[in-house]
């Protein structure tokens, strides 16, 4: 009995010692697809990392990691060099993340915007950016005079199509005559292509421009041409002070801090996170007073309603381009439908590239 008790005490002390040590050495790694100075996607992830650092947790990042054969090595090196939690912040890291996770069951992995969680130590997370698009649509519908809204799109994946649809639905609600024109640039970051696309849309009569790409080029083109625009990922106001009505901000900081602390304290569990305005993962930059105080008030109210769940971005009736019903009157689209969205709603011009 006494012997067992002693053994128990020793093992508890040992465990405490080990876990205490593990806490002190606890490190979080980040893998970025772009440079931290892109003022868009990667910049915002790095802001999140800084918040983790500010919470007293050591962090490391590796920037501009190509989404090819190199990604697996970088993720593995982070796992091997004593990182306990690793955020891989681009879709292209999905397979490498799962591959490395298999070999490092004690390391936790968080993959942004993917759908594969092949091992119990892999979580996925993304943000409901479409809620921000609904607000953009409301403003665009009110502000446009030509009734043409220009949209620079990256890839025809559900996330981008969801944004186009959410924006169009909200704009139609306040202005039934609007049309959404889309230019696909097939890149996430290419200032040259993005500005050409913005110019092409303006030439086709668009007087409101928005983009689902990461550079500041489209808002700068809009500023020069004297049309309205919206920032993407971070507050881009200073790049186009007159033209920008607001920016959708990706705020990863609270999530990164929460998950890092959970992993450090041993309460981390696998999950699939999809946070929006309510949790603050999607936030809006200050609204431009040029749109008038009435509209600002309207949009602020809509933002509150979206956050509280009183309003949903995809409330029926919603029709596709051919007029078939997608969501019946009185109901809202469920997350499964949103996650796999691959048709345009009525009012969007053109076809989805296949």
């Amino acid at each position: 009995m006494y012997k067992n008790f002693l053994r128990y005490i020793i093992s508890v002390l040992f465990l405490l010692g080990v876990s205490g040590q593990a806490n002190a050495d606890f490190k979080v790694g980040f893998v970025y697809v772009g440079p931290t100075g892109d003022h868009g996607w990667t910049y915002q992830h790095d802001e999140g990392r800084k918040a983790v650092e500010a919470a007293g947790i050591k962090t490391t990042y590796v920037e501009s990691v190509p989404e090819g054969a190199d990604a697996e090595r970088v993720i593995r090196q982070l796992a091997q060099s004593g990182h306990d939690l690793i955020f891989t912040t681009s879709f292209g890291y999905m397979d490498p993340t799962n591959k490395v996770a298999k070999d490092f069951p004690n390391v936790k992995f968080e993959h942004a915007t993917g759908y594969k969680r092949e091992h119990s130590n892999v979580s996925t997370y993304s943000a409901r950016f479409y809620e921000g698009r609904t607000l953009l649509g409301h403003m665009a519908g009110k502000m446009t005079k030509t009734n043409v809204i220009g949209y620079i799109a990256s890839f025809p994946i559900p996330e981008v199509i969801r944004g186009i649809n959410a924006m169009t639905l909200a704009a139609q609600k306040v202005n039934p005559d609007i049309k959404t024109k889309i230019v696909w640039v097939f890149t996430w970051y290419d200032p040259g292509k993005e500005s050409e696309a913005a110019q092409a849309l303006i030439d086709q009569g668009a007087d409101v421009i928005m983009q689902h790409t990461d550079s500041t080029a489209p808002v700068q083109v809009a500023e020069k041409a004297g049309v309205w625009s919206f920032g993407q990922a971070s507050d881009m106001q200073r790049f186009a002070p007159k033209s920008i009505l607001t920016s959708i901000i990706d705020d990863w900081a609270p999530y990164y801090v929460e998950r890092s602390i959970a992993a450090r304290d041993g309460t981390w569990k696998q999950q699939d996170t999809w946070h929006g305005l309510k949790e603050g993962m999607v936030a809006m930059a200050p609204y431009n007073s040029a749109m008038g105080s009435d509209l600002v008030k309207e949009v602020e109210q809509l933002q509150k309603d979206l956050a509280s769940g009183k309003t949903h971005s995809f409330t029926g009736p919603i029709y596709d381009q051919k007029g078939n019903i997608l969501v019946a009157e009185g109901s809202v689209a469920d997350d499964g439908m949103l996650a796999g969205m691959n048709v345009y709603v009525k009012g969007v011009e053109g076809d989805i590239p296949q």
């Binding site: 054969a69 697996e72 691959n342």
Partner: protein, 361 residues
């Protein structure tokens, strides 16, 4: 006003041993320059260089990764050495790699869920043929229409990239992949066999080694190799000797393109396992540095590819352990090339100071 006059003269007696030692000198100067940069950035230079050049290869996994990274570089550079030795400036190996990847990947998708030992060889062969055909475009345009092969081969890189973009977004995209720009994962039968469990080093390295041996054989033991070298040294002599210039230009481009295509197919059937938009982190361009660093010599290229691959791995570990910017790796590559070309210049030319002279202007 008096000015110092300088005259640049060609040296006639360049010793062979110094010729092969200059790359070593260039690497030494790069280490020195890199150390100074790290010192200015506030790091302990010895420790930083250790993280850069030793840590990445201090275990088996690291060594395997070094070979994974060096394999395509070596393969492409070997091919390029045929072009460069004969004064043909093929800058478009990146495009030939991608096109080889497209053709090989297309065949791999054709054989989706198809077992058989013959699947992989067919894929590899079709990748090589793809790269070869793509490289023949600038060669034929040069020989029959007198176009500039530098421009044509470079511009074709963008053609290949956009074609790959189109295919992975559209017709070849994974039907279960939510429209993400990538194809299906290839079947096991279409993947390069892994040599050791848990490591990524794959059978592609044998293809590279065989290619290196064959190119040594061609360059130094055949009439074709002799023709290539003579044309490189003096086109006029080659013409005078009656060599068929056009055929030779097309052949060196074909060899070069086939090597790049093999590198592409090695990447997609090796570490990547599918087609997507980033199958190559600009291997085709980096291989140009490798080819010159290796003195366009097969053995030299093997060493050069290992060194350049190490600068990539080093940039990653230095970033993880010291948080130095990723681009230090590119600075190192730039420095190696700069010091190599600089010492080459001084090797082949001497600078004569002619003394002060009155400026008559």
């Amino acid at each position: 006003m008096e000015v110092q006059l300088i005259k640049i003269e060609k040296r006639n007696d360049v010793s062979r041993s110094i010729y092969f030692l200059t790359p070593v000198l260039a690497i030494f100067l790069t280490l020195l320059g890199g150390g100074i940069i790290f010192y200015i950035l506030g790091f302990n230079p010895i420790e930083a260089l250790k993280f850069f050049f030793i840590t990445p290869i201090s275990d088996l996994y690291g060594l395997s990764e070094l070979l994974v990274k060096a394999t395509p570089l070596c393969l492409i550079a070997i091919g390029l050495s045929f072009c460069f030795k004969s004064n043909n400036w093929n800058i478009g190996a990146e495009g030939q790699l991608i096109f080889g990847g497209i053709v090989g990947g297309g065949v791999a998708l054709l054989f989706y869920n198809h077992d058989g030992f013959y699947v992989l060889p067919i894929i590899i062969l079709s990748g090589a043929i793809g790269g070869m055909l793509f490289a023949m475009i600038p060669a034929i345009l040069k020989t029959y229409f007198n176009t500039n092969e530098i421009l044509v081969s470079l511009m074709l890189v963008y053609v290949a990239k956009l074609l790959l973009d189109y295919l992975v977004v559209g017709p070849w995209s994974n039907p279960e992949g939510f429209n993400f720009p990538e194809t299906r994962q290839f079947s096991e039968s279409a993947r390069m066999p892994i040599l050791f469990d848990g490591l990524r080093i794959h059978a592609g390295i044998f293809i590279t080694l065989i290619t290196v041996f064959l190119s040594w054989l061609i360059l130094y033991k055949t009439y074709l190799g002799f023709q290539i070298k003579v044309s490189g040294l003096s086109l006029k002599t080659a013409k005078y000797a009656g060599y068929k210039g056009k055929t030779m230009i097309i052949i060196v481009f074909m060899i070069s393109g086939a090597c790049a295509g093999l590198a592409g197919v090695g990447e997609i059937t090796g570490p990547i396992g599918q087609l997507h938009r980033n199958i190559s982190p600009d291997y085709g361009f980096t291989a140009i540095i490798v080819a010159f660093l290796g003195r366009l010599n097969p053995v030299g290229i093997i060493f050069a590819s290992l060194i350049v691959a190490l600068t990539y791995l080093g940039a990653e570990t230095a970033q993880i352990f010291l948080q130095v910017p990723k681009y230090t790796g590119q600075v190192f590559q730039g420095m190696i090339l700069f010091f190599l070309l600089g010492s080459d210049y001084l090797l082949f030319f001497k600078i004569k100071f002619l003394g002060l002279k009155k400026n008559e202007l």
